[in-house]
């Protein structure tokens, strides 16, 4: 390796703002690498890298023909994880070194270049300061790539229809820059190496790189080469707008699905796009692709999302980077501002469903309270037994034990249990008995105390209320369990009611209660603990029944109305599941699909897609 020049340049232009990260080291130099037509830019990592709050996420190198700029991207100029390169080059070098380097393979022989190295700040989690806003840069001394200056090769054409706008349903911190890739992209005589988007706060610049957020292929979009499977993956991922991995084997089918614009890939449980069954997808491919020719323009569109900290406006430039030579610049005509949206598009399906549920509940509650007639409600044996059990406790002169689960008040099961506690304590007060409520969480105990007080008041016996009977035991699971055991062993309640969210302690409590020969009613929606309540309690209340107890006990028309509404929604759920199952069965058995069957399957798939949960 022969070093032609090693130039030290002091730190230059920082970007706007006092809060930017320190520029990428005070030293940056360019050398030519012997024997290859490439220039190597070596620089020192930012002083802020690996220290302090302002973390450097990546480095980007821009190139110009003289120190005055304009600095433009060149291929592979992103040094996201520079240290990997250092490590890869050989173990002779200390990994602790703070020097990083990048090779410019697209420089043309005989021409002079100046490089600008940017250190891009990572955004701070949970704070207002965002990525890319605070960056710093250094510029190298000019250096020429040796060799005869040949004719500059004709570069590819630039991108088309570039636009920048705030994404729909955004929180006001992003700008989407979208464009159609160069017509020369995708194999041809003027190959494209990728695309880079730069941003500026003034139209005149300086244009700086930024850290993109959630964008699939990043600021440097890989070219579309239909023959290379890896690129096809990226291409599709870009279309789906997610950074998930996709199995290349499924690509042709998926591409048709997506391109047709008919079917949204539903993704799996976590919203991750996932291959549909090969056979089914194949069927749909034939159906859809045959009738609708793929739209070439739609498939060539790319979007890069910029995360911004301020209101803007922001100006963008999109560079098409050829394999050799200068990047082709396209200015996005109109600047963009981020916009906070009040409606989230991807949660719209849920908003609709939830809104319908609300409406249904309101209507049924209204109707129930107006007509006032008794509504049918299925028997819940455990609750029927409760009254008898309370009576028995009074006879025996022993208290009732009520445990509202061990979870925090945040949990809806705890809230539901506290509401039931109100009804139970009313019952207890009417029978002139006492109720003991050991709690695991102090705030639950506080609410429980209020609820019991209210119950005694409603029963007309406020003087019988004993606040010390509602007790915080301990917020540690098993200590609470030990303490509650102690109450069971020594105060010997005649009836134990366990309603709420329970974990491993459920069985210890229920077994102790059994030994003490108390009547036990256990209810929870916690699936792992239900078998233990079923095994060790006299009555078990399963899942949804827990939430219906309050209505069941009071038979208040309004509350029963809300139960009715929940049943209607359940009927809807059943319908959806059955419809989807039939569609799936059809798709699986009746392939290849045609005519009405295909339509049914398609609608079933659409239904599934509509139900995709938000993130």
């Amino acid at each position: 390796m022969r070093i032609l020049a090693l130039v030290l340049v002091s730190a230059l232009v920082g970007c706007a703002g006092e809060n930017h990260v320190a520029p990428a080291g005070a030293r940056a130099a360019v050398v030519t690498v012997d024997g290859t037509a490439r220039l190597r830019v070596t620089f020192e990592m930012s002083r802020d890298d690996g220290a302090g709050l302002k973390v450097v996420r990546e480095y980007q190198v821009l190139r110009a023909h003289d120190v005055g700029g304009p600095f433009e991207p060149f291929a592979h100029s992103k040094v996201e994880i520079v240290s990997k390169q250092v490590r890869a080059r050989g173990k002779t070098r200390s990994v602790a070194t703070r020097l990083r380097s990048v090779d410019d393979t697209s420089a043309l022989p005989g021409r002079t270049y100046v490089y600008q190295v940017w250190a891009l700040a990572e955004r701070e989690v949970g704070s207002a300061s965002q990525a890319g806003a605070f960056s710093g840069s250094v510029v190298t001394r000019p250096v020429a790539l040796p060799g005869a200056a040949g004719p500059s090769p004709e570069g590819p054409r630039g991108v088309a229809n570039a636009a920048a706008a705030a994404p729909e349903g955004d929180d006001g911190r992003h700008v989407d820059v979208s464009f159609e890739i160069s017509p020369d992209d995708g194999g041809g005589s003027r190959p494209v190496d990728g695309y880079v988007v730069l941003r500026a706060t003034k139209k005149s610049g300086p244009y700086i790189p930024f850290v993109e957020d959630g964008a699939p292929a990043g600021a440097l979009e890989e070219p579309v080469d239909p023959s290379a499977s890896e690129d096809r993956v990226r291409y599709l991922v870009g279309l789906l707008g997610s950074n998930a991995r996709i199995d290349p084997a499924d690509l042709p089918a998926k591409r048709a699905l997506v391109r047709s614009g008919q079917l949204r890939d539903p993704g799996d449980e976590e919203g991750r796009p996932e291959p549909l069954a090969a056979s089914l997808a194949g069927v749909i491919l034939d159906e859809v692709a045959g009738s609708r020719p793929p739209d070439p323009a739609a498939s060539r569109r790319r979007t890069v999302t910029d995360t911004v900290a301020r209101d803007g406006p922001f100006h963008y430039r999109i560079y098409t980077v050829p394999a050799r030579g200068d990047a082709v610049r396209v200015q996005v005509r109109r600047p963009a501002r981020p916009a906070a949206s009040w409606v989230s598009i991807d949660k719209l399906n849920m908003a609709i469903l939830l809104g319908a549920a609300f409406l249904l509940t309101l209507v049924l509650v209204q109707r129930a309270s107006r007509s006032g007639h008794q509504m049918f409600i299925r028997r819940i044996a455990g609750i029927d037994a409760l009254e008898e059990a309370v009576g028995r406790a009074t006879e025996m002169g022993r208290p009732i034990l009520y445990v509202p689960g061990i979870d925090e008040i945040q949990n809806i099961q705890t809230i539901a249990s506290l509401l039931i506690l109100g009804r139970v304590s009313e019952l207890v007060a009417r029978y002139d008995s006492q109720i003991r409520v050991p709690c695991c969480i102090p705030i639950v105990a506080t609410v429980a105390e209020e609820v019991v007080r209210q119950g005694f008041y409603n029963a007309g016996r406020p003087d019988q209320h004993r606040p010390q009977n509602i007790q915080w035991i301990s917020s540690e699971q098993f200590a609470f369990c030990a303490g509650t055991n102690g109450i069971m062993l020594r105060d010997r309640p005649a009836t134990n009611v366990f309603l709420g969210r329970f974990f491993a302690e459920s069985l210890i409590l229920a077994e102790t209660g059994y030994v003490n020969k108390a009547i036990q009613i256990g209810g929870t929606a916690e699936i792992t603990q239900l078998p233990f309540f079923i095994a060790a309690c006299d009555y078990a209340i399963i899942g949804e029944e827990l939430f219906a107890i309050s209505a069941y006990m009071t038979r208040e028309p309004k509350l029963l109305g809300s139960l009715k509404a929940a049943d209607w929604i359940k009927a809807g759920v059943l319908l959806i599941v059955t419809a989807a199952a039939l569609g799936g069965l059809l798709a699986w058995t009746a392939a290849p699909l045609s005519g009405p069957t295909a339509l049914v399957v398609e609608w079933a798939l659409r239904l599934v897609g509509f139900l995709a949960p938000g993130t």
């Binding site: 929180d171 006001g172 911190r173 906070a340 949206s341 009040w342 409606v343 989230s344 949660k347 939830l354 609300f358 809806i412 809230i415 509401l419 109100g422 009804r423 969480i441 102090p442 705030i443 105990a445 506080t446 609410v447 209020e450 609820v451 209210q454 008041y457 409603n458 010390q468 007790q471 915080w472 917020s475 540690e476 098993f478 200590a479 369990c481 020594r490 491993a504 069985l507 210890i508 229920a510 077994e511 929606a525 699936i527 078998p531 079923i534 095994a535 060790a536 899942g543 949804e544 827990l546 939430f547 309050s550 208040e556 509350l559 809300s562 139960l563 509404a565 929940a566 929604i569 359940k570």
Partner: protein, 217 residues
């Protein structure tokens, strides 16, 4: 005022937190995050209330020399010692951790371990094939239990080689199948049902249909 104000607070906050889920604008999230933080501060202060409650419940029993009063002394003393040491030394304090490691942790582990015994007695007593439902539950449980431990592999040893591998892997296949389908069907139904119940309960609270926690007087 005593009745309506709490209802209004519940309604306004409840609606805010439902709607917040659908609004991406970050100002709303910051507001709800702040409110939630206050909620957690409130829950933390309830611990102090809980501590006072604990003293109120135990000290009189000690003064009055009620049954088991010496144990209450142990309880109050150990709580005060732990609290004092913790506040004095901090969470990483040597004595604090010593007490934690040698008293709290073994108690915790042993209480948890009691379950191994209770599960035996619960299985003996309650897992009886009284009807079809009980039979299904107990037979699935037994099947899974036998498939988890290497008993199948032990049985497989009795067979010649080509059969042996098939038989040896059979239990874990059965177990996984039950896990993936039999178990999931019930689990999902419970989750869907419970979610509906939870939504209905939340709605009733927000709309003030359920007000046993705030009404009265």
């Amino acid at each position: 005022m005593k009745q309506t104000l709490p209802l209004v607070i519940t309604f306004v906050l409840g609606v805010l937190f439902v709607v917040e889920f659908f609004i991406p604008a970050h100002g709303v999230h910051e507001l709800t995050a702040l409110l939630q933080e206050w909620g957690s501060v409130l829950a933390a202060f309830a611990f102090i209330l809980g501590g006072i409650n604990l003293m109120q419940a135990n000290l009189p029993r000690i003064w009055r020399r009620e049954k088991d009063w010496p144990y209450k002394v142990v309880l109050v003393a150990s709580a005060l010692v732990m609290l004092g040491v913790g506040l004095w030394e901090g969470q990483e304090g040597r004595t604090f951790l010593y007490l934690y490691d040698h008293i709290f942790a073994p108690c915790n582990a042993t209480m948890f371990a009691l379950l191994a015994f209770f599960i035996t007695s619960a299985a003996f007593r309650a897992f009886r094939a009284r009807n079809l439902e009980a039979f299904l539950m107990l037979s699935t449980a037994v099947l899974v239990m036998l498939c988890v431990v290497p008993l199948g592999e032990l049985v497989a040893l009795l067979f010649p080689e080509p059969l042996r591998t098939t038989i040896a892997s059979l239990p874990s296949d059965i177990k996984d199948w039950i896990l993936d389908y039999g178990n999931n069907a019930g689990r999902r139904a419970i989750m869907i049902g419970a979610a509906l119940g939870a939504i209905a309960t939340g709605l009733r609270v927000i709309l003030g249909l359920e007000r046993s926690h705030l009404g009265g007087e």
